[in-house]
């Protein structure tokens, strides 16, 4: 089974509603924007509530993995830069154009710069996962001769990643709008 990576864990096992959310809310304050929180709970209702709570607070509910009695929920803390739709990288490709290329069977270098937990719950088959925060250190995983299709959730992190890649002599294309509205194939938990 895939392990989902998180930056922090809230243990709310054995606690009844409202405690899982109360604990999560408190712990989220210590998390940096963009990071992922793992919440362990045994209260079945925690799934729907965390989802609804995330929506109302602007955090991103990623998904839930069930392990026996324990529900492992993943929530990514909302970050401010995602609220700015301004993009700078000149080379972009639309979701459906990339879908077409994939359908044609072209061998493509797709780079997913979301957090690993986001990737785990659904990504384009064959996409390489390198979270934006680690990109600088892991450039050696990428092929400099082929274009890199960079994708994230809404096109913002991938925009920054594409700029970073261009400055390091890679050919980067930003995929917009991103996984948020991806209708092509996905694989994941």
């Amino acid at each position: 089974m895939n392990e989902v990576k998180a930056n922090q864990t809230v243990d709310a096992k054995g606690l009844a509603c409202p405690m899982p959310i109360v604990r999560t809310k408190k712990a989220m304050k210590e998390l940096e924007a963009g990071q992922v929180m793992e919440i362990l709970a045994t209260d079945k209702g925690s799934k729907a509530d965390l989802k609804a709570w995330s929506e109302s607070t602007g955090h991103q509910y990623l998904g839930t993995v069930e392990e026996g009695e324990v529900l492992k929920h993943y929530v990514r803390k909302a970050s401010e830069y995602e609220e700015q739709p301004e993009r700078h990288h000149p080379h972009v490709i639309k979701n459906d154009e990339l879908t077409e290329k994939i359908a044609k069977g072209e061998s493509l270098q797709i780079l997913d710069v979301r957090e690993e937990a986001e990737y785990a719950f659904g990504h384009i088959p064959g996409a390489l996962s390198v979270p934006f925060g680690r990109l600088q250190q892991e450039l050696n995983k990428l092929n400099q001769d082929e274009p890199i299709y960079v994708i994230c959730r809404t096109g913002n992190r991938s925009d920054m990643a594409a700029q970073l890649l261009e400055s390091k002599e890679f050919k980067a294309v930003n995929v917009v709008p991103g996984m948020n509205s991806w209708s092509g194939k996905v694989e994941g938990i």
Binding site: A16, C17, P18, M19, I21, V22, K25, K44, G45, A48, D49, A52, W53, S56
Partner: protein, 375 residues
């Protein structure tokens, strides 16, 4: 200020008495939209508890000053938290003990009437889910029809009445709730009856309930006469008890009729449903008192909290019994149906004995309204 707890039975009394109540439901919006406590004169405010963690000041303006306020959540934990916060602000509030979970499981026994030889007919109203089950008592013996999984309620009631449960019936294979029939029969060494056409896949032994089957309860012979009435399921069977009561299962309700799609064969069973309702029932005495297995709206409740009506009156007033045109009828019962009950496939599997979920899981499967009717 302190806050009080309200029991499911007290809430039931308020509903039956048509008392006004203000419900602050702190579950998330989707759950509230799906299913809530219904009353004639109830007002609602739905604010999820997680929006109130930092304080309730923001909603106090929206709460009435002169009405009883009941805070409701899924299991009670969050409603206690919110009730406490509100009482700290000086409001007088109650919370629903056990939350919607307890509400879903509460059964209220109501006496429907006497039987000809001195026996009694009781209806168990499951207010939160709209399920109705029955106990026929006669001469020291009892029969139970369409029991819920809260079997202790029936067993305790029988003990209190000093009667022995000898026969247990299900009018059909239920899709909206888990039957307690098999467990009661096993515990009390009673006979468990099921219509064989609904029981083709069951994994246990049962007595075959067929058209014309007669069962006596007590020496003074209260007859339970089975009447094959397919349509909601292929096996659906009604009962005439003591030539006085017609137990219709999920075929006919007070102001609605059964839906034919829950076993996946709506189109095939529409004809059966129409035949049962418009022909077979037509031949019965209009004086029979219809006792259904469900109600859909609280408007179907009588003033004493029971759900019952004369067959003759239903033929005049029930929407589902007054659709002259056959194709119109077909359209109503197969198109634009309400969503299917929560986990109905798993519930059917459980009632067939194919799966045996634990108590928590069973409770979770039954969450929500019953949705067996169309109107």
């Amino acid at each position: 200020m302190s806050f009080k707890k309200m029991k499911a039975s007290e809430l039931t009394t308020m509903i039956v008495n048509k008392e006004p109540l203000f419900i602050l439901d702190v579950r998330n919006e989707a759950d509230f939209q799906d299913w809530k406590v219904e009353g004639h004169d109830f007002n609602y405010l739905n604010i999820p508890y997680f929006e109130l963690l930092d304080g309730v000041e923001g909603i106090i303006e929206q709460l009435p000053k002169d009405q009883v306020i009941l805070v409701v959540c899924a299991k009670e934990g969050s409603s206690i938290m919110v009730a406490e916060m509100l009482s700290d602000e000086g409001l007088e509030v109650s919370y629903l003990e056990g939350g919607m979970k307890a509400w879903s499981e509460h059964l209220e026994p109501v006496k429907v009437g006497e039987l000809s030889t001195g026996g009694e007919m009781y209806q168990f109203v499951r207010m939160g889910k709209g399920c109705l089950s029955y106990m026929v008592i006669s001469d020291g013996e009892a029969a139970i029809i369409d029991a819920t999984r809260m079997i202790d309620v029936y067993l305790d009631f029988a003990k209190e009445k000093k009667v022995k449960i000898t026969h247990v019936f299900d009018t059909h294979l239920h899709a909206d709730h888990i039957s307690g029939g098999r467990d009661i029969a096993a515990k009390m060494d009673a006979v468990y009856w099921l219509p064989p056409k609904d029981a083709e896949e069951v994994t246990f032994n049962y007595a075959k309930l067929e058209d014309g089957s007669e069962v006596k309860i007590g020496e003074t012979s209260i007859n339970i006469h089975a009447l094959y009435s397919p349509g909601h399921t292929i096996g659906s069977t009604s009962f005439v008890v003591d030539e006085r009561y017609l137990l219709t299962g999920d075929i006919l309700f007070i102001d609605s009729i059964g839906r034919p799609d829950l076993a996946g064969l709506a189109d095939d069973w529409v004809g059966d449903l129409r035949e049962s309702l418009y022909k077979r029932y037509k031949q019965l005495s209009s004086e029979l008192i219809v006792l259904p297995a469900h109600f859909m709206m609280i408007d179907e409740l009588n003033d004493d909290g029971s759900v019952a009506g004369k067959l003759g009156v239903l033929f005049k007033q029930n929407h589902g019994l007054n659709i002259e045109d056959e194709s119109e009828f077909r359209k109503i019962v197969t198109e634009n149906l309400p969503p299917q009950p929560n986990a109905y496939q798993e519930i059917r599997q459980t009632n067939m004995g194919k799966i045996t979920p634990d108590n928590d899981k069973q409770r979770e499967m039954e969450i929500g309204p019953n949705r067996c009717a169309v109107r």
